[in-house]
């Protein structure tokens, strides 16, 4: 799929009431989604395991990219990991505002997200005062034990 086709998908989304279009083609998945009045598109190589969307390449800057995180290369950042296998939610209720956005200042103990497994809702709190630098996982996607969820730049 080329840029022109992606643009036409975005146009289609903007002209209709649809909120999301996802296409799988030649081993790549393209998803275009309206978010808070904006349209963002993500693409990802297809995995045989469809549980979690792997690292994505953002076409738009509207959504913080997921990316491989290495503490070795960014030792100044704190990483919040998932304590359980489950589903990641950025808001407490479907359709509600996310607990935090990239760029938000957060306090130690502030709730960042929920990870759910088998009707256990696990509220994940920030370990640090600081700024949310990245949301590493897409809302409502599956997460593994120990998977990075957020990167936080601790306040000086």
């Amino acid at each position: 799929m080329d840029l022109k086709e992606i643009k036409s998908l975005i146009q289609l989304l903007e002209e209709t009431d649809l909120t999301e279009i996802e296409i799988e083609e030649h081993g790549r998945r393209i998803r275009v989604r309206k978010e808070q009045g904006q349209t963002v598109s993500l693409s990802a190589p297809l995995h045989t395991e469809a549980a979690a969307l792997p690292a994505v390449s953002p076409v738009s800057q509207a959504l913080q990219p997921q990316q491989e995180f290495s503490n070795e290369t960014e030792p100044h950042l704190a990483v919040i990991h998932s304590p359980i296998v489950g589903t990641f939610y950025r808001a407490h209720t479907q359709g509600a505002e996310p607990y935090v956005q990239v760029g938000d200042l957060v306090k130690k103990g502030q709730i960042l997200c929920i990870v759910e497994a088998m009707k256990l809702m696990n509220e994940i709190e920030s370990d640090h005062d600081g700024t949310v630098v990245a949301v590493c996982v897409e809302d409502k996607s599956s997460v593994e034990f120990g998977q990075p969820l957020f990167k936080i730049e601790p306040a000086q």
């Binding site: 296998v85 589903t87 130690k108 759910e116 497994a117 088998m118 009707k119 809702m121 696990n122």
Partner: protein, 291 residues
């Protein structure tokens, strides 16, 4: 007037704190788990109180009971209708020594405990829908929601919350829920002793948690498998990002629902709403269109 008559004839006794405390005192295993019981006339939700206690450093071992909830909740803040004086709304605050990654097993332990307690108290053949809905005649009679959190440097807290439709009258169930919800009283035709049922739940929960403490989660999975009506059925599971359809073959070692999908592959689900797929017999299917 007819409403007053009905209520007068079927008034369920109130939750009796002394009886519940006495019941706890007679069971050493329960006594070890529950050191304090708080009973409220009306709360927002018993889970909310227990969570607040957990987040402010209260040690585990507190049972919260309420006669009514104004904001009883289920998964993802869905509403749990909680009328006054007829049902059970309880939450237990724990501080398990297990790792948080093992906490989901408490969800299954709670499901087994509630099923065992209802069966022991009423003899009704209640079952579970994975992971922990309590069903009677295909309708929901109980729900369980666990919530956990952790303050930096503290042992994580875990709240096990349960709502059970005990003495709810059919006519009092909101119309939009009647198809999906029932109560023990509706099935039995008489009032159920809520105090006894609370004590039975605590006894069964203590037993199940002891299994977890003794590293015998396989027995909890086995116990749930025996009462889980989802297994062996063709089901649809709506996960937050997609819908899977397949046959629910088993529970995994960590309590996930193992589905056999149409392409014969297996998939283990940890979050989702399960609905049974009813396959119409061929004769029925053939008759469609003939009328």
């Amino acid at each position: 007037m007819s409403k007053c008559k009905r209520e007068g004839a079927t008034q369920a006794p109130a939750i009796d704190l002394q009886r519940i405390e006495a019941g706890i005192a007679t069971h050493p295993r329960v006594r070890e788990r529950v050191r304090e019981v708080l009973l409220f006339d009306r709360v927002l939700s018993t889970n909310q109180i227990a969570l607040q206690m957990g987040s402010t450093g209260m040690p585990g071992g507190v049972l919260i009971l309420a006669e009514a909830q104004d904001q009883g909740k289920g998964r993802l803040n869905r509403i749990w209708v909680s009328p006054s004086g007829v049902n059970i709304y309880l939450s237990v605050l724990l501080r398990p020594f297990q790792e948080v990654r093992d906490f989901p097993l408490f969800s299954l332990a709670a499901a087994v405990a509630v099923v065992q307690a209802i069966r022991a108290t009423t003899g009704l053949p209640v079952v579970t829908k994975w992971p922990n809905d309590i069903l009677l005649d295909d309708r929901k009679v109980g729900g369980i929601l666990l919530e956990t959190g952790k303050k930096s440097g503290e042992v994580p807290y875990l709240v096990i919350g349960a709502g059970i439709n005990v003495n709810w009258e059919e006519n009092d169930i909101p119309e939009n829920l009647r198809e999906h919800a029932t109560s023990l009283k509706i099935a039995l035709g008489h009032i159920v002793d809520r105090n006894r049922l609370v004590n039975e739940i605590l006894i069964a929960l203590a037993q199940q948690i002891t299994l977890l403490d003794e590293n015998k989660s396989d027995l909890i999975i086995k116990g749930l498998s025996e009462v889980c009506e989802t297994l062996g059925k063709r089901v649809k599971v709506a996960t937050p990002d997609r819908i899977y359809e397949g046959v629910a073959e088993a529970l995994s070692n960590d309590g996930g629902l193992v589905l056999r999908l149409a392409d014969k592959s297996q998939r283990t689900i940890y979050v989702g709403d399960v609905t049974k797929v009813i396959l119409l017999p061929p004769s029925t299917r053939r008759s469609w269109g003939a009328t």
